[in-house]
Amino acid sequence: MTSTVRKLNRADLTRRLVAKLKHDEAVVAGIGNSNFDLYAAGHRPQNFYMLGSMGLTCPIAMGVALAQPERGVIALEGDGSILMSLGCLTTIGKVAPRNLTIVIWDNGVYQITGKQPTATAGAADIVAIAKGAGIANSQWVRDENHFEQLIDRRFAEDGPILLAVKIDDQPGTAQTPRDPTLIRTRFMAGLGVGRSGALDM
């Protein structure tokens, strides 16, 4: 499966992803490094940064995708986090929201807690798991160009799509402000949902 896959860098690929977003796509980024690097790539109103609730990135993204079926929704999740909630992949495989893309950053370690190895450092294969869960369009990303090609094609195909990326063990490159209500209200405004009024001016 992944023996020929070169290890890529999460911050670099996150910047490449954000640069491709031209249609106000929603991006839901998981706890820790996934959302730190999304924030580092430049804040956008359609970004949601998770400060807790490890493992709920994909369910949150699916909720957004169901509520706004015409908007592209991207979940950025780590291997440790998705291993905590593999069941949600079966729900996504069953519900099959066509506007949902999942990116799994797989560094094989719980980087932020001291690089303890995850199951994907051994035999566990995220793409095999996702395919087995019913997300047929799941694949490993080979390199930066392949990632950009897949991200380009994503919007032309029916989802859900899962892209798994073997990455290095570098930490996140910025610190997202820890203000959950601010993050939530800005995200809702970015999705055209939030309460509006003079306070927004």
Partner: protein, 176 residues
């Protein structure tokens, strides 16, 4: 009208269109009503905390939803409530079928039920125990409106006094 039909009518009156759930015997009439009515979209999740995530995402995307589960399922979601929806002020409307009381046969259910109201109280989440069809529509209607207006979660605990309890448990009581 059955209690479950009345309950679903109140959900519809409040524009609640998405029902997330993990199945339960007591919830079965509610879930049958949901799946039989095209007004609702239903998503059966593998775990209750997964459903909290779906509800949160749907709310932020502009869709009102509800999470149905049993008592033991609520015990799985303390972290999702404490680290996602409560600090983010995302309203989660919870419908919890109450196990562990009034004829419970499973000691595990009895114990986990005792954790439910203290967890709700410690998180500052309003909860109402629904015991009769006469007061239920008023409580549910007003509390759902309050939850969405104030962006604060609410839990409706379905007492055996309302639902008749777990059918499997009721059978066991006959021979107890």
């Amino acid at each position: 009208m059955a209690w479950s039909d009345t309950f679903l009518k109140v959900l519809k009156d409040n524009d609640v269109r998405l029902v997330t759930y993990v199945p339960d015997n007591v919830l079965t009439p509610l879930l049958k009503g949901v799946t039989a009515d095209n007004y609702f979209r239903s998503v059966c999740t593998t775990r209750e905390d997964e459903a909290v995530g779906v509800v949160a995402g749907a709310w932020m995307g502009g869709t009102k939803s509800v999470l149905m589960m049993q008592t033991s399922g609520f015990a799985l979601i303390a972290n999702a409530l404490a680290s996602l929806t409560v600090p983010s002020q995302i309203p989660v409307v919870m419908v919890i079928s109450e196990r562990g009381t009034m004829g419970e046969f499973n000691v595990g259910q009895q114990l986990v039920a005792r954790t439910m109201r203290p967890v709700l109280d410690s998180l500052g989440i309003a909860h109402h125990t629904l015991t009769d069809e006469a007061t239920m529509p008023f409580i549910v209607d007003r509390s759902i409106k309050q939850a969405f207006m104030t962006q604060a979660s609410v839990a409706f605990i379905l007492s055996p006094l309302l639902t008749g309890g777990n059918p499997a448990g009721n059978e066991k009581l006959k021979s107890a």
